[in-house]
């Protein structure tokens, strides 16, 4: 720019010079040609004019130079701003990528887990054709929720909470009562399972978990989640008939004592999946030995959520004092059976119907040990209609350690009766509950003898935990993919009213046949 100006100025000055020295053209008479001397080209005035012009040009140049500087400064500033914008955009892009990565990681983490649970509303009626029996009607609610999923590629786990009294593991129901008080919620499940990708046949589970083995109401209420450890070895085969063979071991810890021996159950199960045409069957055989079950008859006030306390000591008796436990409290002896009225006492939310006795110091004990041998055959036969398969469940269970003879309501040995150790179950139904619109209805028959299983853990909705004859009619309908409506009619009675600890209707005497107790349940279950 400066050189351009310089080159412009020089010709300009030169032009100025020429302009100054050019002779003036005036109208004059033609002169005769004379030979005369030329006048001087530049005068002092001319120089002065030139100087003034030069000065003016220099001022202009200076102004232009300053303007150029300002322009350069502006361009530089714009360039810097542009660079800043580029840097900001780059950083934003990087941050966005980082955020996307974090979001993907978060999505990946959250996606590994699955929220789940259900809400059940129940209307229930109980009635018995027995004078003195007060019909019972109640509304109940059950809420269960939690999450489970992959901790990593080889481990899964989960945590679930549920409603229900802390003193009764056989139910998660809460009755509409207690003046709109809030309902109890407790830890229902918490477990980790190791199922390595490299050895998918192996599953090792620890914690408080859902049943991992095949079982029915006979050996444990469906609401119970045992605690301890389970090992499962499951092998799929490619044979034409036998599709799977599974071996399981279980160690269930149910009472830990600080300064004494612990109580636990140890056992194993072998099961298989068989397929032949339309028929699929899952036979299983389980053995479960209960070590030191007497702890269940000497449970703490917290364990039973006692509602009263006191002492029946002969030397220092204390009458019944109410305490704020949620219940059900101590399971008392019935029909001649003797059990403590105050903690430590029997833990059996639905009644202690096993045979028991008191030792010399007044401590209660089970009449028989418990060694379950449980055989189940679960069958499904495809009919012509895919949504209406025929289901047939058969079970035979025997307490191999039961005493030879039971004790009657007088405390005497009933030598006319053999072991009260057997359970027979048959459950037949048509249909399934898998997809929207599915329907299943069925009938079950159960004969469960007194010492077949531990009463503390048996099915909670049947007439009594043991020593019963039970019929059950049921129907289930899947209204929506996540909503099931169900109806169940329990129709049962005590099997042998002569036995110690047998449950009798009000006013019923030992030896009399108990009238059937009916229990109707209407359920609506929403799962998520």
């Amino acid at each position: 720019m400066k050189s351009v100006l310089r080159w412009c100025v020089v010709p300009l000055l030169a032009t100025t010079l020429v302009a100054q020295t050019a002779p003036t053209q005036t109208t004059t008479k033609p002169k005769t040609r004379k030979t005369t001397k030329s006048s001087p080209a530049i005068t002092a005035a001319d120089v002065q004019v030139l100087r003034q012009a030069l000065t003016a040009q220099q001022q202009q140049i200076e102004e232009l130079r300053q303007q150029l500087q300002r322009t350069n400064h502006t361009v530089t500033k714009l360039n810097n701003d542009l660079a800043d914008v580029k840097t900001t955009l780059t950083n934003t892009a990087v941050n966005t990528q980082d955020e996307q990565k974090r979001m993907s990681a978060l999505e990946g983490l959250v996606g590994r887990f699955r929220l789940g649970g259900d809400v059940r509303i129940r209307g229930e009626s109980q009635f018995q054709d027995q004078p003195g029996f007060f019909d019972r009607n109640r509304g109940r609610v059950r809420v269960r929720f939690g999450f489970d999923g992959k901790l990593n590629e080889d481990f899964t786990g989960g945590v679930y909470l549920a409603t229900g009294s802390l003193g009764d593991p056989t139910t998660t129901n809460e009755t509409f009562t207690n003046f709109f008080d809030r309902k109890t919620i407790g830890l229902d499940k918490g477990w980790i399972t190791h199922n390595p990708l490299a050895h998918k046949w192996l599953s090792l589970t620890g914690g408080k978990f859902a049943y991992q083995w095949q079982r029915t109401q006979v050996t444990g209420d469906p609401d119970i989640n045992p605690e301890g450890f389970n090992q499962k070895l499951s092998f799929d085969t490619h044979m034409p008939f036998v599709k799977n063979v599974t071996f399981q071991g279980m160690e269930l810890l149910f009472n830990e004592v600080t300064n004494g021996p612990d109580s636990y159950a140890v056992g194993g199960q072998v099961s298989s999946k068989l397929e032949l045409g339309r028929w699929t069957a899952t036979p299983s055989f389980m053995v479960l030995n209960w070590h030191l079950p007497d702890a269940l008859l000497q449970a703490s006030a917290f364990a039973v959520q006692a509602t009263t306390t006191g002492s029946t000591s002969l030397t220092t008796p204390v009458p019944s004092i109410p305490v704020p436990g949620e219940g059900p409290g101590c399971a008392g002896g019935r029909n001649g059976g003797k059990l403590p009225s105050f903690p430590p006492c029997a833990f059996a939310a639905n009644g202690m119907t096993n045979s028991t006795y008191l030792d010399a110091s007044g401590k209660p004990h089970f009449g028989s040990p418990f060694l379950y041998a449980d055989f189940i055959l679960n069958n499904q036969i495809k009919t012509g209609v895919s949504r209406l398969p025929l289901n047939l469940l058969l079970e035979y269970e025997d307490n191999l350690a039961a005493k030879e003879h039971p004790v009657d309501f007088t405390g005497a040995l009933a030598t006319n009766l053999g072991k009260q150790s057997h359970v027979y179950l048959a459950d037949i139904s048509l249909g399934q509950v898998k997809n929207k619109g599915d329907l299943q209805f069925g009938y079950a028959w159960l004969r469960q003898e007194q010492d077949s299983v531990i009463a503390s853990f048996a099915e909670s909705d049947q007439r009594a935990p043991t020593n019963i004859l039970q019929h059950r009619l049921y129907a289930l309908y899947k209204l929506r993919q996540n909503t099931v409506a169900s109806f169940t009619w329990w129709h049962g009675r005590t099997l042998n009213t002569n036995l110690e600890n047998a449950v009798l209707g009000p006013g019923l005497k030992p030896g009399q046949i108990e009238p059937w107790l009916n229990r109707l349940q209407f359920d609506l279950i929403y799962s998520f």
């Binding site: 993907s104 259900d118 590629e153 469940l393 399934q432 289930l476």
Partner: protein, 127 residues
């Protein structure tokens, strides 16, 4: 003696770390989609006494052929509405990366989906 201990220690470190060389991520290769299937797995939600109430959980089974081996992988979507890319059809080419237990397939947007390999089939043995 000390020198021998040092050498032994270094050898032990090398032996321990040697398998890590195989942990280096392998690169993507072009494979051919053999099959894409949506299937369902029954899961028991809860029991009503002895009756199971179940739910059908969807999962995808994808087979790809890479060189002479067909890899069958399973993918469980995070939610029921998640689906595989629409252009994943048998016969189409796809970028695949095979690890020990996993098969990674590249989606059209560049992200990858992780499948658990459940089967490896040699086409020669499959006839």
């Amino acid at each position: 003696m000390v020198r021998r201990c040092h050498i032994a220690f270094l050898l032990a470190v090398v032996v321990v770390l040697l398998p890590c060389l195989y942990a280096v991520e392998r690169s993507y290769q072009t494979a051919t989609l053999v099959g894409v299937q949506q299937r369902h797995r029954s899961r028991v939600l809860y029991y009503i006494v002895n009756t199971p109430v179940t739910q059908e959980d969807p999962f995808y089974q994808v087979s790809v052929q890479l060189k002479n081996t067909i890899y069958v992988g399973e993918y469980t979507p995070r939610h029921a509405e998640e689906s595989l890319p629409g252009n994943w059809k048998p016969g189409e080419s796809i970028q695949a990366r095979i690890e020990k237990h996993f098969m990674f397939l590249k989606r059209p947007d560049g992200s990858e989906l992780q499948f658990v390999i459940v089967k490896r089939i040699s086409p020669a043995n499959n006839h």
